[in-house]
């Protein structure tokens, strides 16, 4: 993918632009991702703070022990889309597509974004889900997320009584 050369410096591309500063993100499975400092700090507050705490990026390795390699790869891919576009339209579309195709992955990416404090991307992803839920019934949400209804019959009745107005 052409987008990766910008975000994830690999092989020659990094040598061709030696002035680019990079740091290493380590996924939970030990896989390492070399990322452009500007690109990642543009997205992640946590890493931005980390760099400022460490006083620089020299040889910085950031272990992301709760993010698996596939999730991190997907997240970085989406960051690329976000960094390349001024508006959120393109990346929103990508997140939507991901939600429809691989919901599990999307939820993991969402959690990873939350973890590294990629605030604007996280907000955007939440909004995609919120928009999805907006038009869904309770049963549809349960089915969509594969959630079991863990209320007792009594509790359901009680909730229904409390919320009666909402279902008029």
């Amino acid at each position: 993918m052409s987008t990766e050369s910008k975000e994830i410096l690999v092989g020659e591309s990094s040598q061709a632009k030696p002035e680019k500063k990079t740091i290493v993100l380590m996924a939970s499975d030990g896989d390492e991702f070399v990322v452009d400092v500007d690109d990642i700090t543009n997205q992640s507050e946590m890493i931005r703070n980390l760099i400022s705490d460490m006083g620089g990026t020299d040889g910085l390795q950031v272990p992301l022990l709760n993010v698996t390699a596939p999730v991190l790869a997907k997240l970085l891919e989406l960051f690329n889309v976000s960094n390349k576009n001024d508006d959120d339209e393109e990346v929103t579309q990508k997140v939507k597509e991901l939600m429809e195709a691989e919901l599990n992955m999307m939820i993991d990416v969402l959690g990873a974004a939350n973890y590294i404090e990629a605030t604007s991307f996280f907000d955007l992803s939440c909004k995609v889900l919120a928009d999805k839920f907006k038009g869904m019934s309770v049963e549809e949400v349960r089915e969509f997320l594969n959630i079991e209804c863990d209320f007792t019959e009594e509790e359901l009745q009680q909730i229904h009584a409390e919320n009666a107005w909402a279902f008029d």
Binding site: V34, P63, A69, G111, L129, A130, R142, L145, W165
Partner: protein, 387 residues
Amino acid sequence: MNLFTILSVVPAKKAIFDNIKLEHLKRRTTLKMMTTSNMERKFESTPGNSDAHPKMLSSSVSRDLPADIVELILNRLSWPKALSLGRVSRTWRAAVQNYNPMGAQSPCLLHLRPGTVRLFSTVEQRCSLIRRPKLNGASIELPPLQIKGDVFVTLSSTPTTRCLLLAEFSALSDGKLYFAEDSFLFVVDSILRADSEPSLVDSWRFMDEGELSMYLIKCNSEILVVFAAREDKNGPINDFSVFQLEQDTSLVNMKNRIYQRLLPQVSFVKVESLRDHAIFLGNIQSLCFPVENTGCRENCIYFTQPGDETAWHVFDMGNKRISDGPNLGFKASFRSLVWIEPGVMLYWIRTVEYPEQPGKLPHLGLSASTPVMATHEDLPRGIYNQP
């Protein structure tokens, strides 16, 4: 040198990255771990050792979102929608309890009746049935005062944040106003004493002669005091003045006698424009917040005339004109007007007990748990009884 260090690891990265792109590793839910805020604990675990993450593995079966993310998603939905999705599961139900909407929401009007509380939204025109609240009362005590008449109490906001409490004693009162901030109380001599300059006394001069009602409103970190004026006791409200209360909060530390020390520190600054905010006046709680995209008008005060609580009127701070506002179609039995922000549950004054012995303290109980909303039986008579 540094550059070399980085470049030297690149070939390995490339290989790994390519593998990842090709190989779709089986998913491991890592959300629960990720969303805990305790970063240090996470870093204690050994990388690559998945046994160190029992939570991660056990959660791989369920696709349920973690509670805090559910909460953030629900916050992006309207209140009715969020509330209805509380039926999805216990996690979602818990998340709804913390509903705190993002973006513009129309203010809601609280309708208090025995046993039920209804909420009316100006835009959605729907009402809600909120469960019977449980009140638990932390309480604060007012300074010694003899009162024989009704007490009218206003809270600028919930007592958890910077909050003022304004008590106005009618009839045979001594004309004192009481302000409380956090757990501290301030008393301001208002009407009768002009020697404590600057004080509330000053503000009266901005209003024409006539009957006045006062409202205390917290707006972000500001405290606003709104005066509604009528030409005579039975006439309609025809003018408003808004003041910003400025005080030297450095005195807050002095626990015991703070209210006396504060007295000269309180000043009132006239507010000419609310900019993009609007004020919603209620009998108990009033609100002031930005109304862009809520369907309400900026720089306006929403209010009802005494004795007619169905039709709303709008006072424009710019041209000082009053026009008709929304009519929410309340029934005549409507007794109490309380504006609240959707999602912000009220902390409420529970009781005002009138001491039998003169000189003893009237007692105000403040509820202090969330989410809490009082029904009108829980409210002190002096607060909600309106003409």
